[in-house]
């Protein structure tokens, strides 16, 4: 798989926010949206491709969790 591009990361971000809005509980919903936003913002200047890939993999796992639990 090619290294994660900016477009892929943004797609992931949008997908995660979209899935998070499906949480029926207010506290989980607001936490998920806030945490995703803060996490992507915090890591936006990471340059090392290995680290980027690790973060993207973790995000994909978390997206799976949100899909299952929301």
């Amino acid at each position: 798989m090619a290294a994660s591009s900016r477009a892929q990361v943004l797609d992931l971000y949008r997908a995660m926010l979209r899935e998070s809005k499906r949480f029926s509980a207010y506290n989980y919903r607001t936490y998920a949206v806030r945490r995703i936003r803060d996490a992507f913002r915090e890591n936006k200047n990471v340059k090392d491709p290995v680290e980027i890939q690790t973060l993207v993999n973790k995000a994909k796992r978390d997206l799976g969790i949100i899909r299952r639990q929301a």
Partner: protein
């Protein structure tokens, strides 16, 4: 059934009533938290009352009592509740092997949060059981030569009760007093240690007032005097950085449901180097190194492990956020209301547990007035009795202030809107209750309440 119907009617009545509504345009947060789908506890005839809309529930501001499950924790637990249901102590088939692997992985996750070795973690049914094992187990093992224990007056009920039951067995216990700040005096601790002291037990973060005890210093004192040091870290694990080696802790109690994990599980850390010997309380097949027999509940311990791992990753982010929200709550309440006292040392304090005393207002009536916020005045263990909390009495709070205390809990999932709403309602109701209070009138007229001679009827 009747109760649930009444709750629904009450919810409908409140939403229909033209009360003052906060200007909150956020979807889902009207008067209370709006859940989109009714929970399974609501009976099926909700469909008969569609005008109720989303089921409204109170805001949860009582995280010291228990915490909601983090969705990541639930996700980790589910496979072990559905497919991987084997007994981790079955050594002969794959069901057992996979459960055992999960249990050991959870053990490693718990250990890495506190800087321990996985072999030093024993799973229990909760911090209460861990405290019982630590105190009774250590005291009884060394009973021949060591008959003395030291603890504080602000410990959790289970610690105090264990000590009381040991006193009935012939041990002596010193209950150290705390200063007005809630922190113990280290010189008093040093003076209290005798040659036959086996254990010192001091909790890391108090569940009622949120003060942080100087654990590293206490650990240093205890290890220099060759006394075992136990700490009940139920409220501290995963929230503040803890390291059992840096802080010289020999035994530590961990609770699952205080760190966004499941209820019914906990752990105890028992140091192996130098070895701390503990007499087992629960006899049986020798599971958990003989210290706690009984099948280890795989889904629960997997949940505990996942909660510890999440806590380790989120600790800094959560702490920063909770500190900010806590500042906001305290500042906003204090600047709008006079005569509000924060119980506990403001500096050595975990920000997520705020205990405020509102003078001239009765605590229970304020709690009842704040009916759409889930709050507590003191600990859940003692909430049934009407006595003011023994912790507040130990820090020297006046009787009347002790009756007016409310504990606000801020956790990982608390939002800024919830804090603002709570502050607003609190200010509104305290003002209203004070208006009704004759004591407040007298204070406004400049009378010093302490100088009044109340006549005996």
């Amino acid at each position: 059934m009747l109760l649930r119907a009444a709750w629904r009617r009450a919810a409908v009545a409140v939403t229909a009533a033209p009360g003052p509504k906060p200007a909150a345009p956020t979807r889902g947060l009207r008067l209370r938290v709006g859940d989109h789908a009714p929970q399974s506890a609501v009976p099926a005839d909700t469909a008969a009352a569609p005008e109720a809309g989303p089921v409204l529930r109170p805001l949860y501001m009582d995280v010291q009592a228990t915490t909601p499950l983090d969705p990541r924790v639930l996700d980790a637990m589910l496979p072990y509740l559905i497919n991987y249901y084997g007994n981790p102590h079955s050594r002969t088939h794959a069901y057992g092997w996979e459960s055992e692997a999960a249990m050991e992985r959870a053990r490693q996750q718990v250990a890495s949060l506190i800087g321990a070795d996985p072999r030093e973690i024993i799973f229990t049914s909760g911090a209460t059981e861990s405290n019982n094992i630590a105190i009774k187990g250590v005291a009884r093992f060394y009973r021949l030569r060591k008959k003395h224990l030291i603890t504080t007056q602000t410990e959790h009920k289970c610690v105090l009760d264990s000590c009381r039951s040991l006193e009935a067995e012939g041990f002596q216990v010193t209950y150290l007093p705390v200063q007005k700040s809630g922190i113990i005096d280290l010189k008093e601790l040093e003076a209290a240690i005798q040659p036959d002291t086996s254990l010192v037990s001091v909790m890391t973060v108090n569940n009622e007032i949120g003060v942080k005890q100087p654990i590293a210093e206490i650990g240093r004192i205890c290890s220099s005097r060759k006394v075992y040091f136990h700490t009940d870290a139920a409220q501290a694990v995963g929230k503040i950085p803890l390291d059992v080696n840096d802080m010289k802790i020999d035994l530590m109690s961990i609770s699952g449901h205080k760190i966004y994990g499941p209820k019914g599980v906990g752990a105890i850390y028992i140091r192996r180097r130098p070895r701390v010997r503990v007499e087992a309380l629960q006899s049986g097949g020798g599971q958990e190194r003989g210290m706690r027999s009984g099948t280890v509940p795989t889904p629960l311990v997997v949940g505990l492990g996942a909660a510890c791992e999440v806590a380790q990753q989120e600790m800094e982010y959560d702490h920063k956020r909770i500190s900010k929200l806590s500042e906001r709550l305290i500042q906003n309440i204090m600047k709008s209301l006079p005569d509000v006292v924060m119980n506990g040392d403001p500096e050595h304090h975990y920000p997520g547990c705020i205990n405020l005393s509102f003078a001239y207002v009765e605590g229970e009536s304020l709690l009842m007035a704040l009916k759409d916020v889930a709050l507590s005045s003191g600990s859940a263990c003692t909430s049934a009795s009407l006595e003011p909390s023994y912790v507040l009495r130990a820090i020297g709070t006046d009787e009347d202030l002790a009756h007016s205390s409310i504990r606000f809990g801020i956790g990982r999932f608390t939002t800024e809107e919830e804090v603002d709403y709570t502050v607003e309602k609190c200010i509104q109701h305290v003002k209203r209750l004070r208006e009704m209070s004759p004591l407040w009138e007298m204070v406004q007229d400049g009378i010093d309440l302490k100088s009044i001679k109340w006549t005996q009827h």
